[in-house]
Symmetry: C2
Subunit: 100 residues, 2 copies
């Protein structure tokens, strides 16, 4: 992330976030982190901003890892399904005689 | 995330993270966030822990959104490819006469 900063407000504090993404996208990400921090804050006892932000980051990392795992499982399921389809097609073709 | 807390160290501070995931997984997530904070810290001027953690969270959210976008694009590509394969099979079958 480089370029001039986009001004965003996360959990009541202003930040300038530099990135080569659009201002709109950076504001979307900031809104997402802000929402996660409010979610964590609503869950328990009073916490300082650093702890809140770290717990929000851990939660977002959890989502990221879960999605990566799901994607890997989906890739494997597609690979398996594709193999099954190829086997089925090959079996069907064994029973077919081509005529001119 | 519920249950008793797992003790982790993120950016030199101890946290107790509650979750229904294993201690090992929670430590992996904590290590990931710790690494991201160190990456952000190494990039620029001196920042307090809250700002560092928030920027790390924004970076992780960016990865999450990028992965979601990639997954959506992959799903669409697979859907298109499957349609193409079905069309090809149907075309092939038009040219085949079955014999008993």
């Amino acid at each position: 992330m480089i370029k001039k900063g986009t001004r965003v407000n996360i959990y009541g504090r202003e930040y300038s976030i530099k990135g080569d993404a659009s201002d709109e996208y950076i504001r979307e990400l900031a809104g997402y982190v802000d929402a996660k921090m409010r979610e964590v804050a609503g869950n328990g006892s009073a916490m300082d901003a650093a702890k809140l932000a770290i717990l929000a980051a851990v939660n977002i990392a959890h989502e990221l890892h879960r999605l990566k795992k799901e994607q890997k499982e989906q890739d494997m399921a597609i690979y398996k399904k594709t193999e099954d389809i190829i086997d089925t097609i090959e079996e069907q073709f064994e029973d077919i005689k081509f005529v001119e």
